[in-house]
Amino acid sequence: MSLESLQDIWLTYQSTVAFIGLNGLLALSVYTTLSCGQLSLAQAGFMAIGAYASTILTFHTGLPFAVNLAVATLLPALVAIPLGLPVLRLKGVFLAIATIGFGEVVRLFFVNLDFTNGALGLTAVPQRTSMWMIYAALGAALFVLWRIRGSRTGHALEAIREDEPAARTMGIDAARYKLAMLALGASFAGLAGALEAHYTYMVSPSTYSFSRVVDMLVYAVVGGTGVFYGPVVGATFLTALPEVLREVSSRIGLAPGPVRLFVNGLVLLLVILFLPEGISSLPRRVRGALQARRRARAS
């Protein structure tokens, strides 16, 4: 294969590679709150705050991009703390509904903000995001979550996830841990929002609707929330799948259309049915099956 055709392949799929990284970061933002048993669906709202904040800074100041990204990372966390104080008293579906409410409030705020062109949003955002930034951000997020796991904090989070009253009787300050994880998830989402806005040349409120946060949740669940890298596996799988199917259908001469969507849904269904703990549990399952077979043969 010549160098030129390799370059063409890279150019053809570079956006898919970029979106794998961005969606991975978003999936991790949902995972952080899930890791202490909280189903928060405010992530699209945090993402919008990060995206808009960084874009406004790009348009109206000459600040370096790194400063924009830092603001986009910190601002959602600052918003998450006062939001979390009352909202995290809720549990289960009530928390989910309250956080959906927050996401919608943020979206409608930007719809009505004339300063950012309302529902039209801001277009012609300069492309300042490079591939390495996306993967550096993803790597940093993974590093943080990897360090938390197995630490004192990690054990506390697991305890809260399994049984919150029991964790509290052991002296774990559950409210503080939950708030910290909400803020951490918010900053991941904000950073992803800023990187995406400067990669896709635009921000508009419709990008941050409820369906976006459902996508993030699906990445996390399909990848598996048992391990910290599971959501990234899910995001990789679900972002690449439509493009893989596009390539396959063009090779076999299938006209583009609902068939691709159908196969996409079918694969998703099969994964959820047969790998309820997510794709990241596949190696363990295979290992388990092999061991069981070996044992059966030995006996």
Partner: protein, 372 residues
């Protein structure tokens, strides 16, 4: 390796390296449409339009020795897939020009990729006033914006009905309805119609009685509505249920057979501006409609615009002296003038937006008919 085999291999390599020495040149055109997702209804019409146009151009022999080939892809009504499709068209399929994508939102994200890749794009359904052709000199547009359609359609209606006062109702939380309202307000003011009241609603609203009653109490002679198709039918039927019988003119959201299907007889008399005059007896338009009938498709405006997109690219190739390279087509666009299309005589404006006559439709007997 011995002699004959080696020379055979060399010949094979030479053949592979220079495959296009023959006169039959193929020019690839990428069509990126929303075949699945929210905008799938539009994408299906666009697909029919583009496929028919490619066949018609190839059959006509207008492009001597050049055959157009369509590469169709689905953008899934998403920015993410729209960008992926564009990168595929530019780097893998190596198309000479791109038609699409269906929605303005997708275009804002994907068209900059084509601009960077120096590949000409013809937008056939993006109606957002700003942020499409502004992206750069490779982005051209066939579809008229609402800012182009509404004023000329309103002028037709005003000449016919002679109203002097109007009220406006619009959705203030959606890109298109908000932009449509801005255009309506400007058009009414420019044509000397007094706006007696303005009311708003949100996309999810289903009950418009409060707003309609408020507007009715001001007794305007004309009502303009900027709404998506989902709300359009409800607004029209609720206005008629209130016993309010003023003429209603809608924006682009009303431009759908769904309006008539959902509002039933209440839709009778509703006015909608359109970029495509389907009653035009121009031979190009008649041939276009006959071609769509043969494909078992009932064409709408989106179909006619997509068809025109291909005609414009074909004309650009001809104008460039039968050359189908990316920059040849871009240069050719500048020379497209008064081209006969189903939309009428088509030319580009200096800012690369399209220009042709708009028309006014009225719903009569459960069908859109042209208000003559």
């Amino acid at each position: 390796m011995n002699g004959p085999v080696r020379s055979l291999a060399a010949a094979a390599v030479a053949l592979l390296a220079f495959p296009t020495l023959s006169s039959a040149e193929t020019v690839k055109i990428g069509g990126a449409f929303s075949i699945t997702g929210n905008a799938a209804a539009y994408g299906a019409q666009q697909k029919h339009g583009v496929q028919a146009a490619i066949e018609d151009v190839n059959k006509s022999g207008k492009l001597k020795g050049i055959t157009l080939e369509l590469v169709l892809e689905d953008d899934g009504t998403s920015k993410e897939q729209g960008i992926a499709v564009y990168q595929r068209f530019i780097n893998k399929d190596k198309v000479s020009a791109i038609i699409g994508p269906t929605l303005s939102n997708t275009a804002s994200a994907a068209d900059p990729i084509a601009q960077q890749g120096k590949t000409p794009v013809v937008a056939v359904s993006n109606t957002a006033p700003k942020g499409i052709t502004d992206i750069g000199d490779y982005i051209w547009r066939v579809s008229l914006t609402e800012a182009q359609v509404i004023p000329s359609a309103l002028a037709i209606a005003k000449a016919k009905m002679g109203f002097k006062t109007a009220a406006v109702l619009y959705g203030n939380d959606d890109v298109f309805t908000k932009a449509g309202f801005d255009v309506m307000k400007a058009a009414l003011e420019a044509q000397g119609v007094k706006i007696v009241d303005i009311q708003t609603f949100a996309t999810k609203d289903r009950d418009f009685n409060a707003q309609l009653t408020a507007l009715k109490s001001k007794n305007p002679e004309f009502l303009m509505v900027s709404a998506l198709v989902e709300q359009a039918a409800a607004i029209v039927s609720q206005a008629r249920q209130l016993g309010w019988n003023v003429p209603i003119m809608g924006g682009n959201g009303f431009n759908s057979p769904k309006l008539i299907a959902n509002a039933g007889p209440a839709a009778d008399g509703v006015l909608v501006g359109t970029a495509w005059n389907k009653a035009s007896t121009d031979p190009v338009n008649l041939a276009f409609i006959a071609g769509q009938k043969a494909r078992n498709n009932d064409p709408d405006q989106f179909c006619a615009q997509a068809y025109t997109g291909v005609l414009v690219i074909a004309d650009a190739i001809a104008q460039a002296g039968m050359k189908g390279g990316r920059d040849d087509i871009k240069a050719g666009f500048e020379k497209v003038k008064d081209l006969s299309t189903p939309l009428g005589k088509f030319s580009f404006l200096p800012n690369r937006d399209g220009n042709h006559a708009a028309a006014m439709q009225i719903v009569k007997d459960g069908k859109f008919q042209i208000l003559q």
